[in-house]
Amino acid sequence: MTDKSVNTPISLASVRQILKKRAFSTPTDSVLTFVVFGALAWLAWSLFDWAILRAVWSAENVAQCGKETSAGACWAVIDARHRLILFGLYPFDQHWRSTLAAVAIVATVVLSCIPLMWTAKRIITLWILGFTTYYLLMEGSLLGLQQVTTDGWGGLSLTLFLFSSVVLLGMPIGLGLALMRRSEMPFVRGFAVILIDFVRSLPLLVTLFTAAVVIPIILPSWLEGDKIWRVIVAFALFFACYQAEVFRGGFQAIPKGQFEAGAALGLTYWQTLGRIVLPQVFRHALPSTINMVVITFKETALVIIIGFFDIMASAKAAFGTGEWAPHYLEVYVFVAFIYWAFIFSLGQYGEYLKGRMAISER
């Protein structure tokens, strides 16, 4: 049934048939279709009218904002403050570095979506390369540029930094925890189970807050590190504990016979794991992993609460001054759109992969 409908070319007759079945099958159905589509169209038009038709676009025309003639969006605030939103307090004349660094991270994420990169070596090299590029550009001193410490990083660049370092650090820890959880040794297994369940039942905010506030008390000062690194490690631990469960799901899909086959061939534990089991585990766990990555990107927005100048905080600062205060709506819409575009595309890609894998397994 489904196979047939996939291959049938779309003709006018089939469209009419679908419409008849799915939009106008009964009188109530027809009324519903008109009312709901009408409401959606009205919403879309109002949004378009506000955001495009009646909007004020440039900072020079800011005087027109809020006047009767242009009751639309005041994008002038974005025109005037986008640098603050995107780069935070990073030195103004060095913004090109922040831009390139952000592009490096986005490029890393986009490239990891291409199946060509899906070998252990390539994907690890890619992420380490992307992350190093980011760090060298942002920090600057190793490239002979003006040094900017992590305190000076902000805006979208900081959000991307948190995101990429959490994924890069959390992925191997997650794999390690998943392996520990499968271990035959009761204490190793118990350790992993307790850690995973404990971290998973705490809100992320509590974990991050603990890293920011409690760790300085219980660690000697030479081990303390910067606040940003403490928070990244805690965030990575959170990611790892969830990702460990994703990997566990992947492991469960592998028949036990494969381990036995590996052992029968005389392969060691690590050889069996690396050459036979893990490639399949990654494949099975891929859609859930992407889901986890998407969630992580969303959750980075929480760091504003523990005092980081991420894109949420810089957005707040952008309308914090008196003259722009009335235009908080436009700033939030702008930031929400950035998040939405990133998360929506990654999510759609995950759905596409899921569909593709479902087909290959049929």
Partner: protein, 378 residues
Amino acid sequence: MSKADELRLKAKRRKILIQTGLIGLSIVVIFGAVVTARTNLQSLGLTSGFGFLARSTGWDYSFSLVPKTIMDPYSQTLFVGFLNTLFVGFIAIFLTTLFGFIIGTARDASNIAIKTAATVYVQIFRNIPLILQLVFLYSVLINMPGPRQAMSIADTVFLSNRGLMLPGLSVTPGVAVALLLVSLAFGVFLIWRKSDLLRGLLTWGIGSILMCVIAAIAVRPEGASLVSVPELKGLRFRGGITIPIELLGMIVAITLYGSAYIAEVVRGGLAQVPKGLTEAGQALGLTKGAIWSRIKMPMALRSIIPPLGNQWIFMMKATTIGVAIGFSDLFYIVSISITQSGQTLELIAILAGAFLLVNGGLAIFTNWLNARMKLKAH
């Protein structure tokens, strides 16, 4: 000793070595942390222990279900925070489950328009961080006109920068909480009895409303009207129920976001019901409602409940973002207490303990629900 035995012994020794190492390392880390914490706290001049719980706080906060003063001890203030977290959490769980099932069913609808509307909703609200939605919404609410220019529906419901004013039954807060608990127990009883899905929901809804009305008639204060409607008196509203904007923002933001997630869970569950079952229902001449409540949903629930339970736990954890808008949930109270009293370790332990307790309880409830919903015949 044969070669095999030798290898086996070697492997056993290695396992013991690894485990001893892990335990030893854990002990060293914990011991080191305790020692360092003690010296660090001593140098800061802080005494550890839970003695501070009896001291009064001396600071105020936004929302409480019970009367509060700034003279309340820490223990009571923390308990208020815990109640607020539970309050928002359970309201959010109830509303997200309700809307999530409606929207998830709409995602599965045969009508193209309804399906499109539900998809647009899910794709917008699921793909923007919850905290951004909350702060956004709160900014909008705080910039609403004041009580005098409040927006109103038929002069009974008002929305202003002071909050949402609703008409309500004239009952005391204590009675309201009692009613809520009885209604909850009634719901659990219906699940326990395994009543039919749609009929059970109807019984529960009508039963709860009837019970509230009867209670309101029976125990309302002397001379008060049955329903109290908010009225503008001078600069503020009197009567009715006032939902302050912090609480309103929390409930609406978590509900919008969580409903989109639960809708996806519900859609996934409905998609797993074999098409033949629906067609069999149609062949029998069942109505759409009957097919949904007697065939699709009972089948789908088996795969919906485990991820639904995870969403409930997520919702409970999500209440911590109240700190972003100054809603006094447990996390907010704990973080203020830490800056005020300096008892960081004790307060974090209380916070973690509270969440372990609540989320553990939710997990147990989900497991129970899952066992109840399982089809016996399989």
